[in-house]
Symmetry: C2
Amino acid sequence: MPLIRAWLDSANDPETAFPLNNLALGVFAPQAGAPARCGVALGDRVVDAAALEAAGLLALPGGPLLDRAVWNPVMEAGPAIWAALREQLSALLAEGAPRRDEVAPHLWPMAEATLHMPFRVAEFTDFYAGRHHATNVGTMFRGAENALPPNWLHIPIGYNGRASSVVVSGTPVRRPWGQLKGPDDAAPRFAPSARFDLELEMGAIVGTPSEGPISVAQADEMIFGYVLLNDWSARDIQAWEYQPLGPFQAKATATTISPWIVMRAALEPFRCDTPAREVPLLPYLREPGPMLYDIALEVALAPENGTEAVIARTNYREMYYSAAQQLAHHASAGSPMRSGDLLGSGTISGPTRDSRGSMLEIAWGGKEPLALPDGQERRFLEDGDTVTLRGAAQGDGYRIGFGDCAGQLLPAIDRPDWA
Amino acid sequence: MPLIRAWLDSANDPETAFPLNNLALGVFAPQAGAPARCGVALGDRVVDAAALEAAGLLALPGGPLLDRAVWNPVMEAGPAIWAALREQLSALLAEGAPRRDEVAPHLWPMAEATLHMPFRVAEFTDFYAGRHHATNVGTMFRGAENALPPNWLHIPIGYNGRASSVVVSGTPVRRPWGQLKGPDDAAPRFAPSARFDLELEMGAIVGTPSEGPISVAQADEMIFGYVLLNDWSARDIQAWEYQPLGPFQAKATATTISPWIVMRAALEPFRCDTPAREVPLLPYLREPGPMLYDIALEVALAPENGTEAVIARTNYREMYYSAAQQLAHHASAGSPMRSGDLLGSGTISGPTRDSRGSMLEIAWGGKEPLALPDGQERRFLEDGDTVTLRGAAQGDGYRIGFGDCAGQLLPAIDRPDWA
């Protein structure tokens, strides 16, 4: 599929993340203090979709659906409405659109907009489906012989996370306190995490709900769209707490998502297969077609008052399991899946050091510090560091992007008087 | 505190679970097909609290708060409103109440009422804070020497569960499918769980939200009330999936709660201390006073068309950690806690076989089948079995109860054609 030309020039720039092919969905305030509303990214502008609906230029069956400053009502409305939304937006914004003059007043400069959470997260689940990541972490913790857990090639393993901790790009993240105990310590102590990390992930958003087990094909149809996702992780809290119930407070501080949801429809041209299976999957997890996406990803790190450096480049196609497989597994024991559920892919690492999606892997548990261009070193994140994830699928003369998924690490709070 | 006498005789019966001291909160439909509404249990009646508010007999500041068929608006309104609710209800229902004649038409027979979910669960977390349970399970899985994980005496360990799977008492539970692999199997298979279990727990409900770390004292003040909670568990799914990320699909099928929320205020007379600490807790987890409750608990099992038998009797005071300690730990890494969060205590087992809160423990992993009075044996639950949890605090001439927390296990669905 080629570029779909818009009447807005900046949307036709081959370098923009937001051509008309994308129609990424967010929630924005056009200026400081203005109320938040549903918007659609287009070139260097945000289209006030809520205003278009209020003016009758968008008319979604069952509407109004855009008047609540979250995209959940559209997500809940189902695939026919998702298609109608894209069709109507395209008709209003395409080159030669007859109602251009009515639409134009509802475009706002993206550079001046404040971006909010694009949807209300129902529940958040995080998976562990990147083979290079699981192998790297397993090698560090259990040795190369036992790197992959026995279930890993059979199950897209995951754990439930904390929806209340999901924040939108730009939200500062506070270094957490937690129980820490090194292998040689006699007892644990309560202290700020000293091994605070990022995790480069994609997030899949469930649109249509389910009751009972579903097939992978059904799961794929339920997915509304994707975001970039940074699953901030306190490695020292995790090491002490995670046996036998899994990560808990190590993952509770924050999870940052990109401000823009890229709908599944916009990613269709970029579908690709998961890697060859080392052991056959059980039938309930088999994919009826390509369910991953070719999306180039990068992690950038900027020390406070320093220069940003890209510290990892990889691709979503490195995953061993797709979001559809994860969702099918998630529903297998009967848990209802709900509109607004967010599924983290697991950390996306490639096979080389410069393609690893976490500091834990890049600096190999602190043993191989990462040199930054300005001469600083990093084992884990330092106070003031800003981590930015970026991603884009490269089409024929256009790109599909998500906007920056960024967060700055703030110092821990002072010790509370009761601690 | 003695019995507070009500003008309704059945509320003064020393055996009722619902004297005026209790004022347990639920959501009910007085007859089949009638709309659900907020109600208060009193003796053998349900007081239509929504109707009392609509009639102006209850006037909560900031109201109406009872018109949405869930108790969340009251929970969110905070401790002053919780106290006002109890005070106004007491004034309307106490012996000699001047407005008795206006209130009486709003009482409905509990036996004819249908009970619904009393609140919307924001997020669900399950802990593992019963020492006898952790020791029993650890002994079975890792041997007596390594029964308690190293972190267990230092952290009230827990994991995030799935809020969408929480159901009210009376909801049937469907035996789940899942990936199963015995230690001697060459590969996993997808099949119905053959080791499906119950877990006797208490659930604590967060009323007021928090941002950032909180003390145990603050956590205790945030708790709105308690329910009985059965955390249904598929032991065979769990055994294969839980390393290294913890329980996931094993706990995803359903969690059943009692229909009545007992407010924290009703449990004040029954506060008691946690057991002596084997190792000192870090200051952030220390309790400023007694935070557990003396609540007698029992598990009953009824085969389909068979006779119900009580298979375990224990007490909430057996826990090593209180809900307030769990909540303080939950918030320690910065996760916002929200009104409507539900915290499972972990399985409550006593020191003896007849006080164990799960079939896994009672029948010791299937090695010591439980004999039922009608001659049947149980290793785990069988299709058609109904499990009922009951609990009550015994006061001076009155009891505080939760209503039955019951669910019947239905057979697994047929194998889907894609599985």
